[in-house]
Symmetry: C2
Subunit: 692 residues, 2 copies
């Protein structure tokens, strides 16, 4: 067709030479899977899976031309739920797996699932000690991160073989390494410039369009820009897992938790590697339970390859466990928060992984919840209920790099490798301002391209303010050391005699010798030039996030519609560098959690086609659906960070689901065990209750 | 006019708070002057001086709208030559000067000129010892660098007060600091991203359009792109000085130079700060002359503010001195190169500045010239002449910053702050490849924006491969030190026992323990992450450039047209990192020097209007005008650089003018003392000779 410059298919992509990129505590990337996910090679795994890509003069020509592509499909029966996928006679989705993939490493006899077990104590013996046992099954649906900006990339593969990628991403280095791996290109030949990002939440560190645009650029000899429509984002990028979770927890009659037995089946989508690993790690990991067995299944289904979504894996299992905890408390006649406090894990307790737990203050958080006016206030009149839930998550460390440059006018440039999803340029600049004793307005913070700043892991896992903050502080301290030498030069004294306190350099003994940070900046040119330092960190000590939420709901018994009346989110952030941004993170995460709770879900039909790939039909909460979310910030310093910072970006998404479920029970006496808790489902539950 | 979004004049610009930016050996920038040069404030100083700027929807609307601007000029008599400007009754161009400017610091009683004198010995006494004295006056015209890419910038002043500038420049930090100074903006609020540059030669480190586009962007709230047409480049950017130079040199009859007395008047253009300083430093600074007095004048004229042009200042005075040297040699009956060798300055000799001269080998270069087949070959038949000239220049040091990052696949990213005018990304990558013992193809080199890389002085003064090379080597050595620690970790040995030679890490004693650079790269992730180091240098030891050229010309006695027959350029570059790029620099510089010699000049009419502001009328040499230029590279290591590198970018522009002038004398017996040596001028000289 005139105006079309290139058309490519899976045949235009090589077999990756690098099989696996290991990412330490952040998992791994299977290069063949990610290549196959970018463009199908013979087999199409889900509705939205790319079969061809083309480059044309204009978007309009491209759309017309794409319609002219004929694909001959051989229809296979789709496998759409973990239950179907794990059935013995299930259609096998992948005949083979790349060695090293999670599923292959842990593969069970099940046709589409790999399993992983964590256990402590003796769970059979444990349940024998229990006076009360609750055993329930929960189901949740596939949901999407719902970032408002769609995926977009512009790639130039130039005549010298250098590939330049302008893309919206959480991790410029992740995109670089994935494109390098998919196309078998040396890493150094790729330059990724991260664009300002309109939301990611874990969904924007995988290559989707970038390798396609790269190959199209090579073919056409031109820059190629690609962007997704909204329906393409929902169909073809990585949402979070639908799940089926069985939770059995037992306690003694005096309220002591004794045993827990969980089976957590999480969708992986069309390729292995869903969030079941972190899910089982944190499933019960806030309570002391001596006997536990937790099995996780990573389950292939004919849906897009699952991506992390804010506190990956935690939400479904927290919904399940915190609902059972509420049920247990009521069975035992205990206040639900009191019951949680009685069993709360504390610093140093042995976790289900067998390791001792790091420093945190879960009891303090539960205590703050119990004393808060929201928890002690009388409920409003009507079919109103109050619920609470409690959650635990670990943030990650990983490598970060920061560059600090001081200018002669006392302003400072800060460049890091961390894409700014949530205002982290500011929270990083504030840490540097603290080191320098200057106003943060004097610091300009930016995000570096892969050729200008050192390797920095993706902005995810609540790591940026914490880990990149450490790199910033280290680089800042290197600058101060160099500036002390300059002051020493000016004052003709030994640098060791110069201290820096309260934003001033001064001599240990001679009070006359004192200079502000800014004054010394103005003398850098004459003492050897301006100062520029870079620092890399890879913290192994990280930190724990805890959060607890209280919610009041009113349930319309005629329609099943849940109205949120009041919501209070408690979170321990270690140190709130910028309290406004932290509150924003807590409120945004809570809003997303409430979307999981009440309205969000993927609808697939029996042919495996997604039927609600628009934001009208895929129903995220709007401002009209939500009350003002009160954010209560607690600060238990993280010993792994000089200012006590803990990762703060994720955990507040976790408690809303169970808190709402528990509040619904409190209001109308039914326990939703499937998400979302939409009107039709509640109406069914209430009718079923009324029939009994 | 519809479509016009903003119109600005000089009234929209503040009085700069920073008066002077000092640049060490590279001079200074007067902020008020540079602001006034960007846009006139009440007084228009030259044809091309901006009086207003506007932003419109399209370039066409902008051009139409600009025509609608009415300016009421009060006509003043223009001052167009140094002779006019220095006359006692001359029109005064500037009533006042900013304190600190060169002209103000050194102001004489002359109306438009400041003076500076260098002297050693006793020049009156010296001339008394001389047997032969030659005393001549030379004139040269204003010429332009002639970069093919015109000036272009795109500026966004965003709502947060951050200014982002994409501009074609030799120095992203220079533009940043100038825009900051002109607009009174903190340095940290400005980010300059240097674009790929299409030639600079000293003319692209001044702000012209950038501050205008910034103010227009602030007014319109949009990105503003501005570019110059060719005639605007010639009219309004900084060419090199027209000059008048008197040279009086005396020698004994046995060929020993004794005394020199020079007066060098260089145009500064409309604002102080032409290249007369370096001009007088290098005027005679390659010969031992015990008694010298050299006076330089920085002279205001109604032309654009002069900018550096490759070996700033050296060309006119070299033309004058080397012509006189040729005349002296012939007068004394000596071979011109023999005469120069007899008087050549050597390492450690006292320069006219009073300081001892650094390490170089001028005699070796002259010896190489004398022995070269070009010098010993018989001349072609006809009115053919052979000439030679010799030149000396110092390259600069200044601050440079480099970042080196190694990837897990053994590829390396190198980022520096040096804009690449001539292939320096490659010459820098090659130095790093040498440090790492790897192939240069494994290294990707890039140029950083001002927010990502440490302060680096402009790419000028032949400094980049030398000074930024030092920063690259230092950062590379820091990376190797860190890699030794990683090898030590893997081998469980003391890092001090590990050496790195021939591209391999190996244990001092245990021969089994050995690993290539690339092998160790693949183990970085597991030993603490990839490595990234940055280094800043401000070398105080720099280096000397010397060059000598031999040219054969044929003069058409009927038309005065000079045909270049053969040209050989000799230059000592210390160490040719990339011989092909070095030859290219020598050939390009020579071509420009030949343009000065034969055809380039600004024509101003009596009203001060430039009459040849096109590349048809401003006549640069083309491929048809030039012979193949043979580049002879000599390598006397520079002790200030571990590989011996000397700056190589400038000096070969200097000797061609005098070499051609001396060849013309050799061919037809007339001595041109004005540039360019165009047919009409030679014809006049030959006719005048024939009349006598």
């Amino acid at each position: 067709m005139p105006g079309v410059h290139a058309v490519i298919t899976g045949d235009d992509f090589p077999v990756p030479e690098t099989k696996i990129i290991e990412l330490g505590e952040a998992g791994y990337v299977d290069m063949q899977d990610i290549s196959d996910n970018c463009i199908a090679k013979g087999k199409v795994f889900y509705d939205g899976h790319v079969v061809a890509a083309l480059a044309a003069e204009t978007p309009h020509i491209a759309i017309e031309a794409a319609r002219l592509i004929d694909v001959e499909y051989q229809l296979l029966p789709p496998v759409m739920t973990v239950k179907e996928a794990m059935a013995e006679n299930a259609t096998v989705i992948h005949e083979t797996f790349t060695p090293g993939a999670f599923l292959a490493r842990t593969r069970k006899v099940l046709p589409n699932a790999g399993g992983l077990t964590l256990a402590i104590g003796d769970v059979v013996k444990g349940f024998k000690e229990c006076d009360v046992i609750i055993d329930r099954v929960f189901n949740t649906e596939t949901v999407h991160q719902g970032y408002i900006e769609s995926h977009v990339t512009t790639v130039t593969w130039n005549a010298e073989g250098l590939i330049e990628i302008y893309t919206s991403t959480q991790g410029q280095f992740a995109i670089r390494d994935q494109v390098a791996g998919i196309l078998n290109i040396p890493i150094g030949k790729i330059r990724v410039i991260p664009l300002e990002i309109g939301g990611g939440f874990g969904g924007k560190d995988a290559a989707y369009l970038d390798p396609l645009a790269a190959v199209l650029s090579k073919r056409t000899g031109r820059p190629v820009r690609m962007s997704m429509r909204r329906d393409e984002v929902l169909r073809a990028t990585g949402p979070s897992s639908g799940t089926q979770i069985r939770v059995k927890i037992g306690a003694t009659k005096d309220g002591r938790l004794v045993a827990a037995d969980l089976e957590c089946a999480y969708e992986a989508g069309a390729f292995p590697g869903g969030p079941v690993g972190p899910a089982i790690m944190v499933a019960t990991n806030r309570y002391r339970i001596p006997h536990q067995k937790i099995v996780g299944y990573d389950v292939l289904v004919n849906k897009p390859k699952i991506k992390p979504y804010r506190a990956p894996g935690a939400i479904p299992v927290n919904f399940a466990v915190e609902t059972v905890m509420d049920e247990l408390a009521r069975e035992l006649g205990l206040d639900p928060l009191e019951f949680r406090m009685m069993n709360a894990m504390a610093t140093g307790d042995r976790m289900v992984s067998g390791l001792p737990c790091g420093k945190f203050d879960g009891k303090g958080l539960l205590e703050a919840m119990r004393k808060h006016p929201h928890y002690t206030a009388p409920k409003a009149a009507g079919t109103v209920g109050r619920g609470a839930a409690y959650a635990f998550y670990m943030h990650i460390g990983m490598q970060s790099d920061a560059r600090v440059m001081v200018n002669t006018d006392g302003t400072v440039q800060l460049c890091t490798g961390s894409c700014d999803l949530s205002g982290t340029r500011l929270s990083l600049a504030m840490q540097l301002a603290e080191v320098f004793g200057i106003d943060v307005d004097r610091i300009s913070a930016s995000v570096g391209a892969t050729d200008a700043i050192g390797y920095t892991f993706t902005s995810c896992g609540s790591r940026t303010t914490f880990a990149t903050g450490l790199a910033v502080i280290k680089a800042g301290e290197m600058v101060l050391a160099a500036m002390r030498s300059r002051a020493a030069l000016l004052w003709k004294v030994d640098p060791a005699t110069i201290a820096f306190t309260d934003g001033r350099f001064h001599h240990n003994e001679n009070e006359q010798l004192t200079m502000s940070f800014q004054e010394l900046c103005s003398k850098l040119s004459e003492t050897g030039g301006t100062i520029s330092m870079s620092a890399t960190v890879s913290p192994s000590d990280i930190g724990i996030q805890v959060a607890g939420h209280i919610v009041d709901v009113s349930v319309d018994t005629a329609t099943g519609k849940v109205q949120l009346l009041r919501h209070t989110a408690f979170q321990d952030v270690g140190k709130a560098v910028h309290p406004g941004l932290v509150s924003g993170q807590m409120q945004g995460a809570t809003a997303q959690g409430l979307g999981w709770a009440l309205s969000e879900e993927y609808f697939y039909d029996h042919t495996g086609k997604l039927r609600n790939a628009t934001l009208l039909d895929y129903r995220m909460p709007t401002a009209l659906d939500l009350p003002m979310i009160e954010a209560v910030i607690l600060e238990t310093p993280n010993p792994a960070h000089p200012f006590g910072v803990r990762g703060a970006g994720e955990i507040s998404i976790v408690p809303p689901v169970a808190a709402v479920a528990n509040a619904i029970y409190d209001a109308v006496g039914v326990r939703p065990r499937s998400l979302p808790m939409k009107p039709s489902r509640l109406l069914d539950l209430m009718r079923s209750r009324d029939r009994h």
